[in-house]
Every structure is written in structure tokens, then in C-alpha cells.
Amino acid sequence: MSTAPKDFVGSHKQKDWPKHLIICAFIIIELFPLYMMFQVSFKDNASFLRNPWLPSPPFSVVETRLAVDGTETVKTRVADWSEAFGSANPSDPAVKSAEKSFDLSVYKAKNWNFGLKLIGPYIANTVFVAVTGTFFTLTLAILGAYFFARYKMPLSGVFWSAFIVLMLMPGVANIVPLFSLLKDMSLLNTLWALIIVGVAGGQVFNIFVLRNFIEDLPKDLFEAAEMDGASHLAQIRNVVIPMSGSIIGTLAILAFLGKWNDFLLPLIILRDKELFTLGVGLIYLDGEYVKQWGQMMAAYFIASIPLIVIFLFCMRLFVRGLSAGAVKG
């Protein structure tokens, strides 16, 4: 983060507001899907079709229709915004009377109940996979990175290239044999398969980043710890982990996000509905239901909530860590 004053970055002659305007326009478009997701999650299909853009006004209209044979039918619909401040307009000539009333039930909280019931179990599975996976990924990566960073052991060059080569190797051809390997290990259709493959896949990147970081730590700390008779595990616990909290945090967030968003592997591995993670669960829902978009959107929103919580707590780490980690490469 630069501390230099920004006066000269933008030209003196140039005004600042056009930039603000363009940036804001972009950001608004960028946030538009988020807004739609939230707003539609409170609607049913009918009120979405009447009024797709804005949230519904808190009024409902009861319309009494007179059919040709003299029977009356009563229908309730959500009011339009044009009716919210005036009187109700009948939606077609057959409507005899239209009655507007204040009504909070136009917001379909049911959508959220339904969404939660739909994907709650999937979220539980995903949290289990993501948390366990992230924990083991980082634990093993810290151990591995310590091995590379501490001493130049015989063979460590060979091991290092074995890891680095994988960074260049495309993983796309692996998925078919991986499937049959997991079948042979009878890990198909288990959550542990996802965890273990995720942990294996995360090793290369995390060891790469952590090794560079641990090598930059002051050597005296390790020597002092060694003088005191600390074992290697003790050195990791008392020197490495406290000193590299921020980078471990950033890597943990990235690992968690990766596992949260993964859907290709679960799609191939999982068969039982009870084991579905969010990825497969959402794909399954996408195919299964006659689309009540309100319910779908509520489900989508609920799927984002754990990430929102993480984001709220770690925003600084997120924004800073992503930028800082990028510079180090």
C-alpha cells in the first residue's frame, strides 16, 4: 500500500468526477446480479413478471372479477408501484372492484424457508468438506514448506522440482483416471474423496507460497529456538505459525473459497442426495424443479451467506492479502 499522496497521480488539470462516474457505473452493473438475486428472492413468479426490476411495494390488491355468467371470482395480487401512492387500478376491464391494502405478506418469506430446506443439508456437507479440507491442506503445506525452507537437505531439489512441474502440468487429462482410482480405493460417493483430492491438489500452490515466506523469516529466530532445544515441530508451532499469520489467513481464505466453489469433482464423485455438496446440489435443483425463481434465488442467497460472514470478518485480510500476495508472486 503506497503512502505517497495521490495529488500527482491524476492530472491537476483533469477533474476527478468523470472517473468516479465511470467507476460507479461499472460497479453498479457489477452489483446488479446481487441486487436481482436479493430482490427476486422475495417474489413469486407472477409478481416478478408484473414488476421485474424493483422490490414489491408493501401493498396487495384484492380484485373481484365478474364473469359473463354472473359468478364472482376474487383474486389477490401484489400492487404495482404506481398504485402504491394512489388508488388501485383494475388490471383489466372485467374487474368490478379493486381494493388496495397494506400487506407485508407480499414478501414471500416462504421462499427463504423453502430455500433453506432445499440447500441446508448441502451447505452442511460443504462446510464439512471445506473446513476439513482447508485445515489439512494448510497443515500439510506448512510442514512441507518448512522442510524446503529450513535446510537444503539431500534430495530436496528433486522433491521441489516434482512439485513445481505440477504447476505447469494441466490437470484436465487427470479427471478420468482419477475417477477410476477413487473407484478402486472405494472412495467414490464419499465426502472424504473430495477432501483428500482437494488436499492433494492444494499442496503445490500453498507450499510454493509458504516456502518463499518462511525463507524470508529471520534465521536467528530458528537458531535461538534450536539452542533452547526446540524440535522441528516446536519450531513450526512457535516460530513459523505466529510469524506468518497473515499469509496463512489469506491462503486459508483462498483454499476455502476454492472448495466452496468446486462443482466438477463433486459432480463426478457424488451419487447420493444426502452427500451432495453445494455445487452438485445447485446443479441438481437447476434440473429438478419447475422453476419458481423466487425460491431458487433465496436458495442462492443462502448459499452465499457463509461467504458473507467470512467476508465481513476478514475484509481487510481479503482486500490487502490479495493485493500483497500478488506482488510477491
Binding site: 503506497s2 505517497a4 495521490k6 495529488d7 500527482f8 491524476g10 492530472s11 491537476h12 483533469q14 476527478d16 468516479h20 467507476i23 461499472f26 457489477e30 452489483l31 446481487l34 436481482m36 413468479n45 416478478f48 510442514l143 512441507g144 529450513r150 535446510y151 537444503k152 537437505m153 516434482a162 505440477l166 505447469l168 502440468m169 494441466p170 490437470g171 484436465v172 487429462a173 478420468v176 483416471p177 475417477f179 477410476s180 482410482l181 483428500i196 488436499v199 503445490v204 473459497l257 466453489n261 462443482f263 445447485l282 437447476d286 422453476k291 431458487m296 434465488m297 442462492y300 452465499s304 461467504l307 467476508f311 475484509m315 482486500v319 490479495l322 493485493s323 500478488a326 506482488v327 508472486g329
Partner: protein, 315 residues
Amino acid sequence: MAFPISRQKALREWKLYFLIVPSLLLVCTFSYFPAASAIYHSFFDWAGGETKQLIGLDNFKRAFGDQVLWGSFKTVSILIVFNLFKMIPSIAMAVMIHRVKSDRWQYFYRVMLVVPMIVPSLVTLFIWKFFFDPNMGVLNKILDFTGIKSLLVSLDQVFGWGLFFENAPIGWLSQPDLILPSLFIWGFPWIGAVGVLIYLAGLQSIGQEIYEAAELDGVGPFKKFLYIELPLILTQVRLSLVLLVIGTLQGYGLQLLLLGEAGGAGGRGMVPGLWMYNKAFVAGEFGYACAVGMILFVFILMLTFLNNKYVRVDK
């Protein structure tokens, strides 16, 4: 750098090897073994079970005559061009945020950029699928609302595309000829939060005196970008370019979810990765899928080498 260590000391520290063994074992089992197995099985007629039959190079011969496979390579090259174009808004955004004078606003914009990241990428994908829906979808509603649709319809009448009609909703993902345009529109305005933050980090290393000098010489905003800002983020731009090309070449999740296993109407959205997936998990031809995977693998490996040779990414 790690300490060099004498042989005797290394022998005494043999326990250190225990630290690397778990990672090494995992990587060997789940990365190296499948890769070797893919090479091995590409020479077999194999349906994923116990029985397999050695058929030599037949899988590869078949692949070279496979129209769908080569069509999919054509599609993926078009997608790569699209994605290169889609890098521009992120760079522009980073430069604009960087040029904003107040630090506080800069931080605010960064946060606002990261906010969409809280939506799982899969959910973003489904929201876009909803946008593309012909009857309920937001895209068609926007086009109706702004009158762009009638423009498209009149253009259609002039050029005879046969895609847009007055009274019918536009079938973005169901018309074969609209699938590539849909994939182009997908993700508008194409700003990647991670990309912007990485570029911003690069821009931040520009010293103030460079701007002062440029100011005195009367350098305009665009030239400033060309001569000061672009050279400084070139490393990051190259890196994301390389990652993007390789990622697009081997990616197929987007196509699988948006268009289905067969690559959408007329197979227009078929990419090599999806064809491999399709052959393995839909048609059950695992051996052939391995061969397709190997061909794709060779392409990506060649690109990686070319890139290491000509597009240097300095750390």
C-alpha cells in the same frame, strides 16, 4: 534461501523428511499416478471397468478424424479471443481507480469490487443462466425496455440472420447461432476482482515523481497510460494472459452448466474438455476420453513451453 547443510548434519536431521512425506505421497497418488494412468489408458479400449483391450494408436487415429473434436478446438480458440478482449475492462478499471485522488475512495472502490466475490461462482453462473432465460430472463427484458430489441430485429431483416423476431423472445441459449454471442456477453462488464486488485498492486509501485515529470511535459491521460502505467503492470498483464489462455483451453465447467453435456444446440458450445467429459461420463468410452485428454494436454504443454520461451514472466 534455505541453509546449506552438511551430510553428517543431514543424517542427524533425518526426521525432517517426515514433514514432506505426506504432501509427497498425496501428490504422487492423486496427481502423478492419474497422469501416468491417462497416458497408459489412452492406448486401450476401456469402459472404466476391469476389462480393457490394447488397441495401440487406434484411439488417436480416431481422434484425428473426429470432426467434433476439431470443431471444439475451433470454438475454444474463439472463446480465447473473447476472453482476451474481456481483460480490457479490468485493466481500465484498475487504472481509473489508481488515478482517483483520494485514498479513501480508492479503498472504498476496492471493497466494492470484492463484494461480488461473496457470491459463489456457481451461483453467479446460475444467475446468468436466469438472465438468459427467454421468457423470464432479465437480458430480454432489458433489450425490450431499452428498445435494442427492435434495433436487432430490423438489423436481422436487413442481413437475414433469422435470429431475432418481433413477437418471439430471443432464445439466447437455444439458438445454435446465438450460443457464441451468449458466451461473449456472459459476465458483462467482465471485471474480475482478483485481476483488478493484482493490477492495482502493480500500479501502486509507480513513484510520484514519474507523474510529476509527465505532468511537466504535458503528457495526456492516454499517453500516461501507454508509457507509464502499462509498462509497470505488464508483468501482471502477461501473467493473467497466460493463466487465462490455459484456463480457457482446459475449462469446461461453464459450458457444462450453461449448455449441458452435449455443448448446447447444434453442439456449438462444445469445447475439448467438455468432449472428454462427455466421452467418459456420458458415452462410457474411458479409453478414448483419455486419448482426447492427452491431445489437449499436449496442446497446453506446447503453449506453456512457448510462453516460457517468448513471454517471459519475471517474478
